[in-house]
Amino acid sequence: MELSFSAEEIAFRDEIRAFIRDNLPRDVQQRMIEGREIGKQDIVDWQAKLNAKGWATPHWPKAWGGQDWSPVQEFILIDELQSAPAPQPLAFNVSMVGPVIATFGNDEQKKKFLPGTASLDIWWCQGFSEPGAGSDLAGLKTTARREGDHYIINGQKTWTTLAQYADWIFVLARTDTQAAKKQQGISFILVDMKTPGITVRPIQLIDGGHEVNEVWFDEVKVPAENLVGEENKGWDYAKFLLGNERTSIARVGVSKQRLRRVRELAAKERAGAGSLMDAPWFREKIANVEIDLKALEITQLRVLAEARKSGKHGAPDPKSSVLKIKGSEIQQATTELLMEVVGPLAMPYQRSTDAEDEGNNTPIGPDDAAYAAPTYFNWRKISIYGGSNEIQRNIIAKAILGF
């Protein structure tokens, strides 16, 4: 057993650090440190840089821009991006629809979509959840009716992240309404967001920001060639995709960066006679989260090591649900610490950069305080999305209790 990285892995890590230092715009990094939103163009520009280096899609097949890296190398890249902090390649593109197209799509689709998906010339959003289909995703009601060379899509998707930026959406829709089981009869279809009949309506979250949307489909006519894989097999592709989402949600690097931020701010914050960081009770609180995070990091490395050994990259493992549960809880705990550093100064409301309501445009009090409460509120979603923590517990229960 050996916990430390090899010399090659350390050299690799240093290369990534240097690349981030030399290429990531300072203002983007600063906005991320403060928990503020970053603009579409900043994300696009950064992913283009990563992609030029071959780092946007290392886990893809080599023929389509993959790198033949070890899972540990992939972990190091993500960890360094998260710790910097730097934007990660857009998950909808590189972790979700990209691997689905690369694995189940035809050559035409691969040629048409994969390069732009890697470079973010095509911004994808995910058309999965519906008002009546959340944890029970297979209960979705959106339909795709075949008419000649087209599918006609009708229905409503919701919680669609950054649909306002998206060029394309990958949709789960019911192509066979008579199927015996609800998981059967679902197809995976790629839809151009400019197609007539699509309406995007913003949903404002309690932090004031606009990151999710409702997407309505009214007689949306889509070429049949945009079906991925086989008709009525979409559920299999969705399961493949969601398995990838669970492991990427641990976000160990994000929590590391957040704890670093908490320490920095607490050292500057006067609390009584000394700084907040001088207070033993506060140091204990940070240490408690750090212990949890260290355990999570090693659990994640163990999952990766097992995947390397078995060659089953991203294969379902009940421990990947452990990563999701603990990862989300730890991330949420770091936002509580941040709010505690700021204390009563977390109360003034800060308008999010693109919120549609009226608020305050310039910060009240110190900049550090502005995003503490909004981040805490916003990050409650982490234990809800990507398969709620209750669903993750069901997965583990099924695995260990065998029912």
Binding site: G134, I206, V212, I364, F377, R380, I384
Partner: protein, 372 residues
């Protein structure tokens, strides 16, 4: 021992409950009130006055009804259920307590009738950039100059500060930043020369203000108390917001349970899942424990012994803060995505509960205070 309300108290609860049913049952209306410049509707404040709520804590000699902390608890619990936006706690409870305990008869005569009538509003400016929750951590200065004091300093997150006509400012007459001695409370006109303020909405849609005081002159006769008075008033305010939190938790749990009974996944209402049933039960347990502590706080708030009273408030605020966080977080989780949207009331109750924890000290602050 008696946990029953008197007939008068029941009448009070019913009339307050009716007021909020009229004004807040439709959540869209709350959104409209929140968009007004002061973050609430002055017509509703006038209804508070008509219903006698603004008179309630004051002595009959000043036109009040001589109500106590139990009456305040009744009102605050209803405010919590409705997620009401009017600054009742900052005005009638917190500032009201300072005036009751610290102001001279002349000052009381001059101001209380206007507050009771709803014509004038008031707020307490005590928090500073680095004071956190310590009421004795004061850098704002009060320099004696003849018959006046001259106040100089900055106050932050003054709840209800943007709508206030009068401000009660804590300032240091003598001593070091954290000394317990040498702190005075001064009643000033918010339009005095040298007062500048910037009002804003807070995370829970209630309003606050940043207030700068540059050479603000106030007659020495307008000193309305010292640290002991501020702490006593803060204790009454703590009891009040504990009751508000209980009301908010009760409403949130009711919404969550309703949602669980109607939301269907996997072909059944999600209330059929035992894991979720037990979560709802834990929320109920937390609520009932918090309710007991809010009652304890109300029954201790009038205690004139600062130590006994302070310990009770520390216990109550710590317990309620802990319960509020659990209930708030779990309500959001059980609602799923809808729980974090601006359009739906649950998220606003969650935010309000979060902000209550940040007022007058969070759960762990009071735990440390108690253990010290």
């Amino acid at each position: 021992m008696d946990f029953d309300f008197t007939d008068e108290q029941r009448l009070l609860r019913d009339s307050v409950s009716k007021l909020f049913a009229n004004r807040y049952a439709d959540f869209e209306k709350r959104k409209a009130y929140a968009k007004q410049p002061e973050g609430f509707d002055r017509a509703i404040w006038a209804e508070y006055a008509e219903a006698g709520l603004l008179a309630l804590p004051f002595d009959e000699a000043h036109g009040g009804f001589g109500g106590g902390p139990v009456e305040t608890m009744i009102i605050m619990e209803e405010i919590g259920k409705a997620a009401a936006l009017e600054p009742y706690m900052p005005n009638a409870v917190f500032a009201g307590a300072i005036l009751r305990h610290g102001a001279s008869a002349a000052v009381k005569d001059a101001i209380i009738p206007h507050l009771i009538a709803g014509e004038a509003m008031i707020a307490v400016a005590h928090t500073e950039r680095h004071s956190r929750y310590d009421l004795n951590d004061v850098t704002t200065t009060a320099r004696r100059d003849g018959d006046d004091f001259v106040i100089e300093g900055d106050k932050t997150v003054v709840i209800g500060g943007d709508s206030a006509d009068h401000l009660i400012v804590s300032a240091r007459i003598s001593g070091g930043t954290r000394d317990r001695d040498g702190i005075g409370l001064f009643l000033i006109d918010a339009k005095s020369a040298g007062v500048s303020r910037r009002g804003y909405a807070m995370q829970d849609a209630l309003h606050g203000a940043e207030i700068s005081l540059a050479n603000v002159r106030v007659p020495a006769s307008h000193q309305v108390g010292d640290l002991a008075v501020l702490e006593r008033a803060a204790d009454e305010a703590i009891a009040a917001i504990c009751a508000e939190a209980v009301g908010a938790m009760e409403a949130l749990i009711a919404m969550t349970v309703d949602y669980m009974k109607t939301r269907k996944q996997f072909g059944v209402a999600i209330s059929a899942f035992q894991a979720l049933q037990h979560r709802a039960v834990d929320m109920y347990v937390a609520l009932e424990q918090a309710r007991s502590m809010a009652i304890f706080a109300a029954l201790s708030a009038a205690d004139s012994d600062a130590k006994t009273r302070g310990e009770a408030m520390a216990m109550a605020k710590s317990a309620v803060g802990k319960a509020a966080k659990f209930v708030g977080q779990q309500s959001v989780q059980l609602h799923g995505g809808i729980g974090v949207t601006m359009e739906y009331k649950a998220g606003h109750l969650f935010k309000r509960l979060t902000m209550i924890d940040l007022q007058f000290g969070d759960a762990d602050y009071h735990l440390r205070r108690l253990a010290a």
